[in-house]
């Protein structure tokens, strides 16, 4: 396995095995156990567009495992601003590091980088394309809550057109036999080619504009942010975005163990009143980014995670 560009790079067995590794690495991610599995290894963090959680959790994951990190830094002060091609940047960083985590505004950039590099590339988001490391932490969070991945009913809500997290996640959930409810305004529907791929893989997919009506039977509600700039005028945005906001009072009829997830940052699509409910999982989800990425770094660097790590996991 050279790198992780889309979820197609992992079989279901590999996904489950990496999630097992992640579970065992929890005490290391929490800092209660020190396990320098990646000592002497260097991660290149290439973030060509802003990132808080993904960049920081990659960095934390590497450091918790005793490895080191070099950063591209601010794109505005790097050679990218001088017109350097992605190919050349990758050639350089490939020589400095053992593995690269990358986010780029252009779709396809991660695959392009993988074709140019000898070291593994971890796709941290490419335009509106894929975000498979986010999917791994999402799957970890779902498995933590429900004890399984198969046969769940999952509502993906908000901006399904441009939201790369839901593109990768929908593929993975379909492969585990989950039923998907795609709840979005018509302007921000899941791209037709993705729905067609999901159906071709035997997906049980329903598209709707009714988020609130979908909550009652859901096991997972995965919210995403609707961006104002996607709409021609502010009134239209206000009208549409209002239908994709969750308040604690919307959750009265929800299943006891239903969880609400969000890749963050949120703006106002999840009201703070939801934070105090048993359903909120988005902050745990953000923490899980560290442990899922630790497991991925080990897997891609061919470092085995010991069966018995100790700690409380």
């Amino acid at each position: 396995m050279p790198g992780l560009i889309t979820m197609d790079d992992l079989s279901n067995e590999e996904i489950l095995s990496i999630l097992d590794d992640a579970q065992r690495l929890l005490p290391v991610a929490e800092g209660t156990t020190y396990l320098p599995l990646l000592q002497g290894k260097i991660l290149g963090n290439l973030f060509f567009e802003p990132s808080t959680r993904t960049r920081m959790s990659f960095e934390t994951a590497m450091k918790r495992l005793g490895g080191d990190v070099v950063n591209l830094g601010d794109v505005k002060t790097s050679s990218v601003v001088k017109g350097e091609t992605l190919y050349d940047t990758i050639q350089m960083v490939d020589g400095y590091t053992d593995i690269i985590a990358m986010r780029h505004p252009r779709q396809g950039a991660a695959q392009y980088a993988q074709d140019a590099a000898r070291v593994p590339i971890l796709n941290g988001g490419d335009g509106a394309g894929h975000h498979p490391t986010q999917t791994m932490l999402d799957l970890f969070t779902i498995q933590q809550a429900h004890g399984r991945l198969d046969g769940l009913k999952v509502v993906l809500a908000g901006d399904l057109r441009y939201g790369r997290t839901v593109h990768s996640l929908s593929h993975a959930l379909t492969r585990f036999g989950c039923e998907l409810i795609l709840a979005s305004p018509s302007l921000l529907k899941m791209p037709a080619e993705i729905v067609s791929d999901l159906n071709a893989h035997g997906g049980n997919v329903t598209e709707t504009e009714d988020l609130l009506g979908s909550i009652e039977s859901a096991d997972v509600v995965y919210m995403t942010r609707i961006q104002k700039e996607r709409f021609a005028d502010e009134d239209e945005y206000a009208k549409v975005a209002g239908a994709y906001k969750l308040h604690a009072s919307n959750l009265d009829g929800a299943k006891e163990n239903m969880i609400i997830m969000h890749p963050l940052p949120r703006v106002d699509e999840i009201h703070p009143s939801v934070d105090q409910t048993r359903h909120a999982r988005y902050f745990e989800q953000a923490f899980n980014g560290v442990v899922a990425r630790m497991a991925l770094l080990c897997r891609l660097l061919n470092v085995e995670v010991p069966a018995d790590i100790g700690g409380d996991a």
Binding site: L86, G108, A109, A128
Partner: protein, 158 residues
């Protein structure tokens, strides 16, 4: 009207290439994709919208003193996937070629998606489109994964 009659609409060529079974109306596009334009010095004959048993109507092109190779022919997959090519030497058919595509079309066209990484003309890696299906032709960019609109794609020939 017979096939033979169609071929006689233009003079037989001594040496060169005959491209048959081009969908009606696409001959000009085929010439464009082969880079045959006003700067070319070789004689070119073309018939358009002639009857065809297999296709209803079709176009035919004859290029004198130039032999198309397999790579050039494969470029035509986008506009004339059923094209047949005959290489003519001394008024006789010396070779017959048909389009042979593997899993990918490499460095023939650029991805049509405006935000694909390959839209930067300075990026040096090959333009690669994966073939999902031949009939009908379905292509996706190797890098960004976007499905390609064939009508738009013919404008992106490299």
């Amino acid at each position: 009207m017979s096939q033979e009659h169609n071929m006689r609409r233009v003079t037989a060529i001594r040496n060169g290439t005959v491209i048959d079974h081009i969908p009606a109306g696409h001959a000009m596009r085929v010439l464009e994709m082969l880079g045959i334009d006003r700067s070319s010095s070789v004689p070119v004959s073309m018939v358009m919208n002639v009857p065809s048993k297999k296709m209803g109507t079709k176009d035919i092109i004859k290029v004198e003193d130039r032999e198309l190779n397999q790579d050039e022919l494969n470029r035509l997959a986008l506009v004339a996937p059923d094209a047949h090519v005959a290489i003519i030497r001394a008024y006789s058919v010396a070779e017959k070629l048909t389009i042979e595509l593997g899993d990918e079309i490499v460095n023939v066209v650029r991805c049509t998606f405006s935000n694909c990484i390959t839209t930067n003309p300075r990026e040096p890696l090959a333009h690669r489109l994966r073939i999902l299906s031949m009939t009908p032709l379905e292509l996706r960019c190797h890098y960004c994964g976007r499905p390609q609109d064939l009508d738009e794609l013919v404008n992106n020939v490299i």
